[in-house]
Amino acid sequence: MHFTIGNARMLDGNIVDVVINGDVISEIGSGLKVGEFIDAKKNLLIPGLVDLHTHLREPGREDSETVATGSAAAAKGGYTAISAMANTFPVADTAGVVEQVYRLGQEAGLCDVFPIGAVTQGLKGEALAELGAMANSKAKVRIFSDDGKCVSDPLLMRRALEYVKTFNGIIAQHAQDPALTVGSQMNEGIVSARLGLTGWPAVAEEAIIARDILLAEHVGSRLHICHLTTAGGVDLVRFAKSRGINVTAEVTPHHLLLTDELVQNYDPIFKVNPPLRTEKDVLALRNGLADGTIDIVGTDHAPHPTEDKDCEWQSAAFGMVGLETALSVVVKSMVESNLMNWSDLVDRMSIAPAKIAGYSKHGNQIIKGAQANLTIIDTDKTWIVDRNRLSSKSKNTPFEGMKLPSQVIHTFLNGKQVLNNGLVVNGGSN
């Protein structure tokens, strides 16, 4: 099937027509009009966004999110590829579970869903899961993570880093020393002292980052640091890269914009793991993302049902939804502050994550022959976040009521439109 995305603005400012044939871009030029003509109205055309850190909750917690509802949220946020974290019930630690998640993603057909496999059986941190079986399954898992929990045993972490070299895998570490964070509720500092909430020291994150950087160097493996939150962590990754160690790092949109001052009223909507940090940390993260020390933005989209946030802080669940606000929050924190331009943003949110994960059909330059995974953004539009209009099944956004720049208008997955004028296209099936 042929169609044309007309009057699309490229990153270099040129206005072009892009012809899609099947699932690839067959021609780029001007004055083209093959098949249906979708007028992009000079809005920005970029490769579809890629998330390496998504919690879809299925199987097990379908009350908070399913693969289908999470995929719809992804399409709405401009994502064409997302990576489902392993902390489901049952845990994605076998070929069976990762194949199920992969298949559910294909059936939903709104976004490519790539499962992440658990590093250890049941996320218990005791014994390796069958990493090879997951890698060789139909889901072709390459990223392994116990996210939500840290692989804290140094020997097990070393073994995991070494073992995944067989299939060019990567270990994505949730850096949190469990002994230093027993009962931790929020960033340890001035605000936690005032609020009487158990502190979560920056060193609990940085100590694991430092250790794992050195392990990765020792065994020559690929290490990915999930959701960096501290200025010290940025320094450690910068040091590792200067030493030529094969480490990549990620930051979430919320850690680029929000600080621990928001905890002051004990509203658990701001409760997240790792916790919101200080303004100094936020500025260091922004600078790290701008200079490339931090490679990518990962949403850490973490849906929770209302009752898990409608309670006292201590009892509330950790996590925030983020797929539908990620792009706008990154524009607000990075582009509007002139730390990055749109090309940098596309690198950090599409090209670089696809490269790290090996998602070869995503995050490519928009050229003839490339897979048609595309997103169109109105960069002049601002919008106000309304939790009730989220496609995600859960509504736990910390950005409620916030005015944000840039809105995703259309998303195309493998040559098929999955978002049309901000509305998810129903019945999308492969």
Partner: protein, 317 residues
Amino acid sequence: MKKHLLSINDLSASDALEILNTASELAKISDGPMKKLPTLRGRTVVNLFFEDSTRTRISFESAAKRLSADVINFSAKGSSVSKGESLKDTAQTLQAMGADAVVIRHGASGAAQRLADSGWISASVINAGDGTHEHPTQALLDAYTIRSKFPEFRESFAGLKVGIVGDILHSRVARSNVLLLTKLGAHVTLIAPPTLIPVGVTDWKVDVSYDLDSVINKVDVLMVLRVQSERMADSFFPSEREYSRGYGLDLARLNSLKSKAIVMHPGPMNRGLEISAESADSHQSVVLAQVSNGVLVRMAVLYQLLGGAALAGEVSA
């Protein structure tokens, strides 16, 4: 004054002084033949206690009763809460019962604020201790007690030197006292081993010392905090004996206090750990006065929050 008392931050210095002055007026009435006032007749005060604290609950209960309020004691221990009912459902139940004020004690920091902010309930909320956050009526009764012992500091605590010794990190009493005492102008020094001082203390308007003996002879008021022995299990200090040697108020330290200095403790005391029997029972100790002042100050808080006509008018009515 605001609708709720969740933190000392809800009070200006003049709000706080007004509560203390009201408590002084109530003290005069309490010394008279007719102890009970009709002020809150027909109003309902709920004591919602998710943690055991017989002392605090009894204090609030007698305060409410002396103002003629109806009192419902809701002890969440052993009730439906321990079977998994949420704070929200409990609050909405109390709302349906028509509570005018809810006095809440909860193990989670911020629980009182959540109750007040969430829209679950329209009653005034009084924080009777939330986790390791605050215990504002304790600070008010401590300030009242200090004022009654030092009449020269009646309108301001400027020039008053207070030492607070003990587990600052986990103490809601310390947090509320630091806020109130400094708001009233006192100079506060926190004394504890570094493990029991919050990392973020740099933001507090206090001095910090790790050495009780270098501070003790300079203070007018020494507040001794309860130390929970489970802190030892978490390696905050090596042993009860070592803590007691370094930070306990024993007889020798009692003797090094200024002669007019007073010793306070929010109770219950661990005699022999943070305070020796001689110190607890000495003429400088005002521990029992703190208890009786607690009722007066809590009456004043209920009176201020639930509103009433001028005191004098009511007495004559």
